[in-house]
């Protein structure tokens, strides 16, 4: 289809309580820049149930206009309902570009929408720009397990769509005094059009929820911990810094900690402000999942470990000697 406007849309995924997922709000920052360069408006798209908190957040973080699709059928994410809502909106208003957060649901929705609209999608982008020559969005993303970066364009199909990893962009400062035009769209989906049924939500074992993608601080442990007990030290440091516990594949495969903690290609992709890798050698699959962190600290006995190639601070030493002292120093600072 052709674009009817020069507008850029940011799909803002909501939590079940109607609050926005961080990545949707983060995307308003690059969204503003791209929309200005494209000469269009920055529009937030919110689908859900009781989404006032999300509308408020999108307004405060820079959306010019917000499309809201509300209904009982959107309370829980479903591919069918959300695809229908987003595609209906696109067909009606014709944006030139759409950004979607690369959460599990975002990556479920993106390809389905792109395929229905017969357009291109670039997944899991880590940087965005406007190509000076053509005005197309230049989507940059890692491939080959992070060994290679590729810049992709979608020259002849609209809208051009991309999913963007959480934590890559930072939220702009909230301005509670801002206002935005809110347009409620009446789009409903008949129950028999939703072909999947949510039977049960299973929270992490022992009530433990690990929000690696939203975390500002992650302390991760790897094979160098030597045993599940090693994670006690990791947890202590993480708690002290208000962060969460991550792990390398080696630690997960050894059964020392659950897969939900795994950072890397077969785990989560993260971009915290601070990432502390303890006893992690830094296999490319791990690095691919954490290299966009703002600051990386690596602690490893092996001076030649590849993790030091991405570290801002590399400590060559035994983590069991380094961490207790580091923890003590931080405790002193906080006391």
């Amino acid at each position: 289809m052709d674009a009817k406007t020069k507008d850029l849309w940011v799909f803002i995924e909501t939590n079940e309580d109607g609050s926005p997922k961080n990545v949707g709000i983060e995307l308003l920052s690059p969204g503003r820049e791209l929309a200005d360069k494209q000469g269009g408006q920055l529009i937030g798209v919110i689908v859900g149930s009781n989404v006032d908190a999300s509308v408020k957040a999108a307004t405060a973080h820079g959306a010019d206009k917000i499309f809201v699709v509300e209904g009982k059928e959107y309370e829980h994410y479903s591919t069918d309902a959300y695809t229908h809502a987003l595609c209906t909106l696109v067909e009606k208003y014709g944006p030139t570009s759409i950004l979607i957060g690369a959460t599990n649901n975002g990556r479920d929705l993106g390809p389905r929408v792109a395929c229905r609209l017969n357009t291109g999608l670039t997944a899991d982008c880590t940087s965005l720009a406007i190509d000076e020559e053509t005005g197309n969005v230049a989507w940059t993303r890692p491939a080959f397990g992070g060994n290679l970066m590729a810049t992709i364009m979608c020259p002849d199909h609209r809208p051009q769509i991309g999913t963007v990893r959480p934590g890559v962009f930072k939220k702009c400062e909230a301005d509670e005094a801002r206002s935005a035009e809110v347009v409620k769209e009446d789009i409903h989906v008949a129950p028999d059009m939703i072909r999947t049924e949510l039977i049960e939500v299973i929270k992490e074992t022992a009530g433990e929820i690990v929000d690696l993608e939203g975390a500002e601080v992650i302390v991760s442990g790897g094979r160098g911990l030597g045993s599940p007990e090693g994670f006690k030290l990791i947890k202590e440091l993480a708690d002290l810094l208000g962060g969460v516990v991550g792990a390398s594949r080696a630690a997960v495969d050894s059964g020392w900690i659950g897969h939900s903690h795994q950072v890397g290609q077969t785990g989560k992709t993260v971009g915290p402000k601070l990432y502390i890798a303890c006893g992690i050698s830094g296999a490319i699959q791990h690095v691919a999942g954490m290299s966009s962190s703002n600051t990386i600290i690596a602690i490893n006995k092996d001076e030649t470990a590849p993790i030091f190639n991405v570290a801002d601070y590399g400590v060559v030493g035994d983590l069991f000697e380094v961490l207790p002292v580091l923890i003590a120093e931080i405790k002193k600072l906080k006391a």
């Binding site: 001076e303 380094v322 002292v325």
Partner: protein
């Protein structure tokens, strides 16, 4: 049950090195493997077959002739029959074009082999990492999809899937036919036995060429030309330089120096 598993042959990305001078991927000598997520997908299918031995598992791969090796491997760990979709016309396809070719091939296979109840795909291939082809096949076929599966089982005309979410799991059911993409489960795929390897080697792999699909495929929607996305450039990521290396006499001293750096740089 009639199950299809889509498989891709990929370079083992753990073995890829960067040419330090030319800054390009060195692909020579890099072993080709079955995409690990596709191996998990096949394992979920094989577990359904364990419970219901009348289940037939068909494999479909798009790729060059040497991708036969990947299909043979899959035939030795649960696959019953295999199709290789291969042709110059398909080269350069992006995810939308690839999913269109695969969906067309699936319809072609169904003409002779009957409708598939479940189509399993790996959540993504480790070379492209897009996670798009599965959902796009589902859209082309107008099937429901469940992504990020770690477990699945069949109950009557429903497939039930434990799906990984950002903060836990959910249990989702869909009426078959349905497409399921699979992420890393808690278990490893089964190993082949000498017997199953020999049996796999003896099996013929059916070929699907462009000519076989010509009557039903829109040739303007495949290959490089039919792909909406274009790769503008590729480059190797920057290696961080100028990181601070701390290597004091003792671990305690290193910790203190690290702490001093972090407070000075306002990291903590």
């Amino acid at each position: 049950m009639n199950i299809l598993v889509c498989v891709k042959q990929v370079p083992d990305t753990t073995e890829i090195k960067i040419d330090p001078v030319k800054k390009t991927l060195i692909r020579d000598g890099v072993p080709s493997i079955v995409n690990p997520f596709d191996a998990y997908a096949l394992e979920l299918a094989a577990r359904i077959k364990d419970k219901d031995p009348s289940t037939k598992i068909t494999l479909l791969c798009m790729g060059p002739p040497q991708a036969e090796a990947a299909l043979k491997e899959c035939l030795s760990v649960g696959g019953d029959v295999a199709y290789l979709c291969s042709g110059r016309e398909f080269g350069g396809s992006d995810t939308l074009a690839t999913s269109y070719i695969l969906a067309t091939a699936i319809k072609k296979i169904e003409e002779t082999d009957g409708k598939f109840d479940i189509i399993f795909c790996g959540k993504q291939a480790i070379d492209g990492d897009t996670a798009q082809v599965g959902p796009e096949i589902a859209e082309h076929l107008d099937y429901p999809q469940i992504t990020y599966a770690v477990e699945s089982y069949v109950e009557g005309d429903l497939v039930k899937v434990k799906r990984e979410t950002d903060d836990g799991f959910e249990l989702i059911a869909a009426k078959m036919p349905c497409l399921v993409t699979v992420t890393k489960p808690d278990f490893d795929p089964r190993y082949p036995t000498i017997k199953s390897k020999m049996a796999a080697n003896r099996k013929e792999i059916a070929k699907i060429a462009f000519a076989d699909l010509e009557a039903t495929i829109d040739a303007t929607k495949i290959g490089l030309k039919g792909s909406p996305t274009k790769v503008k450039k590729t480059f190797t990521p920057d290696v961080k330089t100028g990181g601070v290396k701390i290597n004091e006499e003792t671990g305690a001293d290193s910790a203190k120096k690290l702490f001093a750096c972090l407070t000075a740089d306002k990291i903590i």
